[in-house]
Subunit: 233 residues, 2 copies
């Protein structure tokens, strides 16, 4: 039976930016697994009631339902052991996941938070503004206005990645693994939701991101994003 | 032939706090290798001339000389493959090393920098103050006076470790590996040079550090440090 996945969509249904969904989409691409990507919006909690979960990604694989991007990545490696994503660095992936979530994702989010809002359907805009402004303690626009500051903090926080990918092709060596997908999903998030450039060109992290965009026949590069839609106007 | 290692010493020759030396000492203990620890002081660059290197640790294993803590750790795993320290997380250790050096060690250093100074011989105090104040752009005392602020930043930066060791015994799983030693060396550094408490008791990172202190028959716990010398007065 086909794999289905609920994936966050912008107002333009073909724009899919969720960093948590991108982790799973890259893991699926890594394994060469096809999955039907069902567009889902913040205001459609009802459609996920079957999974007893209010957030995407949700993966349905035959009769099996798996929620939470991290659990889905682990499920995929167990169920489809060919081309593992957690080797050779399974052990340290837990630390790397926490580092990405605590030190990187929030800085990326702050750089593009008003752009994300603008990309959503009207109903989702209301939901997004209410929930996110309560968490941020500021308007989305005020947070994004300080994006130069967030970008600077982001690039400082990325220093351990810079020294790593200056020495080796991917974060855990010669081949892409879960660690690469965890970090890359943050950049793909920004790329799909905003035209803001997070990384200086001609930097080691920029070059690594280019390699990630090229993986799996340019899977992530082909995704509809802000830049691409701008070109097609 | 016996292994020898040049190890940074305080004015009290039995106090050895260098975080880079502690990486190697923990790696040696992990492998059950005996090494003669030669006391070395900042002002004794001449004694390392044979290695064409001005810093410790320097390891001499028979006719082989290895400098730089990271290279020594890798050398030990190649030369003594039993009980590897880089498995199962060899691939991600490079990232973790950079993270520790960029995000953790400097915060620890700032918390205890005047205490380190006070522990040194008079000649080394002069050298340490000159070189470190030039780097810091402030007096050692002014930096340490803000230690509450540095400690707060340190504990925030440790969040990805907290979530990891709340779930598993060591950073890369059930067994201690290079990642644990890289981080632990920062704490052992502080423990040997200062009485300042970096971590809140009854926290997951505190408990992990206790487990590290217990390893290899309490090897690190037995090291002479500020607390221990205070007790023996």
């Amino acid at each position: 039976m086909a794999i289905k996945m609920y994936d966050l969509a912008a107002a333009d249904e073909s724009v899919r930016f969720s960093p948590y969904c991108w982790r799973v989409k890259m893991a699926l691409a890594h394994k060469g697994l096809q999955a039907e990507q069902l567009a889902w919006r913040f205001s459609e909690k009802d459609r996920l009631a079957f999974a007893e979960h209010g957030q995407v990604p949700v993966l349905c694989d035959g009769d099996t339902t798996v929620v939470d991007s991290w659990q889905i990545m682990q499920y995929l490696d167990e169920r489809y052991p060919d081309k593992p994503i957690f080797k050779p660095d399974a052990a340290s992936a837990q630390f790397f996941k926490s580092w990405v979530e605590r030190s990187i994702l929030f800085l990326v989010f702050q750089c593009i938070v008003a752009d994300i809002h603008d990309s959503l359907t009207e109903t989702d805009q209301t939901y997004f503004r209410e929930t996110r402004e309560a968490r941020l303690g500021a308007t989305l626009e005020d947070v994004q206005a300080k994006r130069e500051q967030h970008r600077k903090a982001l690039n400082a926080a990325l220093e351990p990645v810079r020294t790593t990918v200056a020495k080796q092709t991917f974060i855990a060596g010669d081949q892409p693994t879960a660690t690469d997908y965890l970090l890359f999903a943050c950049f793909q998030f920004a790329r799909c939701a905003s035209s803001f450039q997070l990384l200086p060109a001609e930097s080691a992290v920029f070059d690594w991101r280019e390699r990630m965009l090229d993986l799996h026949d340019g899977y992530a590069r082909k995704a509809k994003g802000f830049d691409i839609s701008a070109i097609s106007l």
